[in-house]
Symmetry: C2
Subunit: 247 residues, 2 copies
């Protein structure tokens, strides 16, 4: 019997999940995918995700792979699986991938968006997908600070302290701060991200926008290679994994 | 003791409510406002809403008024009340209004937005605030049809059958169909709306976009003065009451 490897693009609203990765206490995106795929394909399935997003983080295009003996055409799996999944998880695409292909062991560009809503009071329809602040933010200052982070750098200061990782060097291809009405969208594209890196970048840019830090201080933050030099970790619910591009 | 009239701008996510108006079975926006205001001001409060939105409909700026003996400064009520309200209801503004001022008995312009998301599969982070369709929609045709409805017309065909109303003549000041990436936003501004009118307009424009109706047929729909001549009532969750302008 021959197995084939299936690659899926997975979108979800992270509000009601304990993140991607399987846990003992709490439902996760991974556990829901495994449960529904196992039911659909009638064999034990374990998916492997490209990005193990934290509790509360959303995704338009995370990627997962799994192997199956099933003869169901790869493209049909998205349709059939969506019938079984809860409505806050939806497969956007399913396709066959080369045997052994793994999203974490190949070069990719990954895009995240961190969304901020500015107002005197929170706006209920935005509360699940953006971080609310009543602070005035100077977007031009945030842009200046963001520009300092683009390129290849040691992002140790922007990595959750204690995270186990071989190298803290990453490349950011772009980091835009865009005003969209009362919203600010921080969009970042890179070859990889350290644990909590996007949320720490967002938290630091928020401090720059509020005038608590100077835009030029970002150079010192990078040089410090110390988590304490950067700003706070912005809340999870403002973060969305937009998608992957595999090179 | 002198009462004063307070006007509030009220935003909410309608997902978890049985609409605005008080019901015997189910929590509503009105019942939550009454409960929290009564607790805050320590006197029985009954608000009166400008628009009694249906179950599932959202608002950025509905308007409510109430009378109170409280000496709390009008502008502070928003802050204090937001501390008591559930997080899916947030007062955006509170201010004193002239005695006897009532949002339903004064001229106003009211804006609604109906949001549509087009894709092969639903997108979880959009599911609560837009109507999903996998149909291809011809936005140019929808715009042509929309243009026929602008102005003063008898909108009887766009009113839920059986609704009690003196006149079915209303004026639409604008009806735009805007493409925003994979979304379509139908934005309509008028001096008043009949029961389900915006959702029936949206449902009819969706049929035009799908090619099931001709844009020019809107003239015949208006002339028919018969609910059966228009398209289906589009689902509530795609609809948001954007706000009021009082003249």
């Amino acid at each position: 019997m021959e197995t084939k490897r299936i690659r899926m693009t997975v979108a979800y609203d992270g509000t009601n999940y304990h993140g991607w990765q399987i846990q003992n206490n709490g439902i996760t995106i991974e556990s829901e995918l495994n449960r529904c795929l196992t039911g659909l394909l009638q064999e034990p399935i374990q998916v492997c995700g490209a990005s193990r997003t934290d509790a509360g983080v959303h995704a338009l295009g995370n990627v997962a792979v799994f192997d199956t003996l099933s003869r169901m055409p790869a493209g049909k799996i998205a349709y059939a699986l969506n019938q079984r999944l809860p409505e806050d998880i939806r497969i956007q695409k399913s396709e066959e991938a080369p045997p052994g292909w793994h999203p974490r062991y190949c070069e990719s560009r990954k895009t995240y968006e961190y969304r901020i809503y500015r107002g005197e009071f929170p706006m209920p329809v935005k509360r699940l997908y953006s971080y609310f602040t009543y602070h005035t933010l100077d977007v031009e200052r945030m842009r200046e600070a963001a520009a300092c982070l683009v390129g290849e750098h040691d992002f140790k200061s922007f990595c959750q302290a204690g995270a186990q990782v071989r190298s803290t060097v990453r490349t950011l291809y772009g980091l835009q701060v865009e005003e969209q009405g009362a919203d600010i969208a921080i969009r970042v594209c890179g070859n990889g991200f350290l644990y909590n890196m996007v949320r720490i970048i967002a938290g630091t840019l928020l401090e720059v926008g509020q005038g608590k830090r100077e835009p030029e201080s970002m150079q010192d933050v990078l040089k410090a290679k110390n988590r304490a030099a950067a700003g706070p970790t912005a809340p999870a619910h403002g973060l969305t994994l937009v998608g992957y591009e595999f090179l």
